[in-house]
Amino acid sequence: MKQVAVTIIILFSALFAVAGEELKVGVKGMVCAFCAQGIEKKFKAEPEIEKVKVSLENKFVLLTFKDGKNLTKEKIKEILKDAGYEANFDEKSPEPIKESDKKPSTEKK
């Protein structure tokens, strides 16, 4: 009985540990904190978004979606356009995502 309870707890923990899908989007023209703040605010307003991480150094925004949710590339382009910037899906980020980058700068509350 005890083993069954432990197994159930582990399974539940694993369920909650599953992170939403992540997407890294390059952003052209994002060179200052004001730029980053606008981009972060725009993405945070989307109901599909769980977390937003902006990296000025690597010029990307890392989006973590809620489970089962996503945004199309067209929608992401539109959001960035509203913020005054351009999405860059084609080019790879100069550096791979580091573990420290994955720590969200903001979590939606």
């Binding site: 004001f34 980053a36 725009k42 000025l56 913020a83 005054g84 910037y85 700068s105």
Partner: protein
């Protein structure tokens, strides 16, 4: 007719000026900017209806005159590059000048051009105000012109959540005066707040503040 329009537009471009780098921001953004020296104060409140257009209001105090001018700010052109961004903004508005309890008509035009990367920054603005007031002995000219040119560099590169520090050198001139005022600034910004403290070469001070909501 076309020549006249071109001429008027060219004159408008030539006259206009601005004190702030980003008079238009992202859609639905509210910006509050303030520029202060012992001789002059300016406050600009903006609301961006789109990334290209903002409605705004300027308060400006100079030489015992106070200007209250609603205005429209336009992003004429933005270049988004991988490592830099450049912008041209144009503003126009009409309001009034308060002097000795009397109100006089005043019209404003302003041009801003900037280029910035994470390491370097170049900025130009020109402010033009056409005034009906001829009574202020300290501001005799009906055309108020004020130009600024800035260059800046970041001594180290900071990311979004870090404190960003910039060193900036500014030259400014009122077109009706001969002297060019030079000011060195330390700029700090973090997330949505920017502030600058400046020391003029002739001993004066300056303090600027900017926040986006």
């Amino acid at each position: 007719m076309r020549l006249k329009i071109t001429f008027l537009f060219t004159m408008m471009i030539a006259w206009t000026s601005a004190i702030w780098a980003h008079p238009v921001s992202y859609k639905d953004a509210i910006g509050l900017m303030s520029y202060n020296t012992p001789q002059m104060n300016e406050v600009l409140l903006t609301y961006s209806l789109s990334p290209q257009f903002a409605v705004a209001a300027t308060y400006l105090r100079d030489s015992k005159s106070e200007f209250y001018i609603p205005r429209a700010n336009f992003l004429l052109k933005r270049w988004n590059k991988d490592d830099s961004q450049a912008n041209i903004y144009l503003s126009a508005g009409a309001g009034y000048e308060k002097f000795n309890t009397k109100n006089y008509g005043a019209r404003l035009a302003e041009l801003v051009a900037d280029w910035e990367s994470r390491k370097y920054y170049i900025y130009f603005d020109h402010l033009y105000i056409n005034r009906d007031n001829e009574d202020n002995a300290l501001l005799k000219e009906k055309d108020y012109n004020h130009s600024k040119f800035r260059v800046g560099t970041a001594p180290f590169l900071a990311d979004y959540e870090d404190l960003n520090v910039w060193l900036i050198l500014q030259a400014e001139k009122h077109l009706n005066e001969s002297q060019i005022e030079m000011t060195q600034f330390l700029r700090f910004y973090m997330k949505n707040t920017l502030w600058e403290v400046g020391a003029r070469f002739d001993g004066g001070w300056a303090f600027n503040y900017m926040v986006h909501f």
